[in-house]
Symmetry: C2
Subunit: 238 residues, 2 copies
Amino acid sequence: MSATLYAIGVGPGDPELLTLKSVRILKEVPCICVPKGREEGSSLALDIVSKAIDLKNKEILQAHFPMKKTKSPEHIYSLDAKWHETVKIILSRLNKGLNIAFITIGDPTIYSTFFYLYDRLLELKPDLKISILPGISSINASASSAAISLGLADEKIAIIPATYTDNLKDIMNTFDTIVLMKVHKVLDKIISILNELNLIDKSIYISNVGMKGEYICRDIRKLNKDELNYFSILIVKK
Amino acid sequence: MSATLYAIGVGPGDPELLTLKSVRILKEVPCICVPKGREEGSSLALDIVSKAIDLKNKEILQAHFPMKKTKSPEHIYSLDAKWHETVKIILSRLNKGLNIAFITIGDPTIYSTFFYLYDRLLELKPDLKISILPGISSINASASSAAISLGLADEKIAIIPATYTDNLKDIMNTFDTIVLMKVHKVLDKIISILNELNLIDKSIYISNVGMKGEYICRDIRKLNKDELNYFSILIVKK
């Protein structure tokens, strides 16, 4: 008697950006799992869902996702006690025949912690029944809000965490569109690179897309520094 | 008395992948515009919408989108008679105060013909009221169906029309995930590059995602050539 784990992308913030399928599954499942604690956006995912469906009579599992701020895969993947606890809780529900929806902001395949969980679950339960429901990612939503195309015809698109600046200039020269994620931490450095490459006028900054306080800045020289936050994206479109 | 043009991404094929917002707007608008003719996926967009909402009493504008198969921007942007006709029809409805939804498969910001139309409309009506509603792109849907992440933590993602093979090797070396669009035309060439870079076992082929006949191939050496078509994608995930 084994049930299905659904990974559901709930979109960037606006509950109306949920898909019909995600809403249907969220109504059907008895358990919803959401990462707890410091994880940016974790309570936001639950907040979005609560505006679209009735959470009464559902079990909400707020599980630990102990992500370490390090680039070492050994650290990221260290299966410590807290991960074990999270995996155990999820498997206990599935083994009782209860379907679970793991919810994540944006899309599960774009920089979501879901895949850390998935890898750990598969280790313990290789026959895990999984169904991943795509969601609107902040990338597509930001381009839509700014009314710009990410790519047309033969154009090439690069999506890069902005903290990665090693060969950013090469990438900016090769690609037609460059999407920089989580740009808030390194904006000064990025602006200096954009100036050097004469791309500052081709850049649009978007934060809090689909949320209250959505902010679009088409002249990033005049960017309001108060708008810098975790939910920020910079699109460079040549 | 000017109305709003909505550009709506209807997702890759499954009508349940429409967002709540797209369904609401599609129900509200009196006119739906869809590219007509040879354009791959044009009738598909209308087919998807027809499964989610009642099209009775709506005006369906099947407009010409004369895309030329050339890389020259002059050709692509040549505002010929057919484009003029399309733009004129759309503006006539907007000027009557009728909202129009332009529908496109996937997401409007990812390789959609919508932006060709948008540029032309803006030329004639700079104060055009536009609202772009994001949709699930075939990229996110394919990764979800294949249950793979497109990017985690500091990983870099490249999205490339597969017909572009100039410096594909460099890109494959630099990026963690490479998404090749419309790979059906150049698959043999791509397979030879993947073999050379020892990435053949890191590649997943997906076609018709979210449609009848969805096909996922995790060993592209054994790819069924009958499954090669316009709605195909190759994800290389190191």
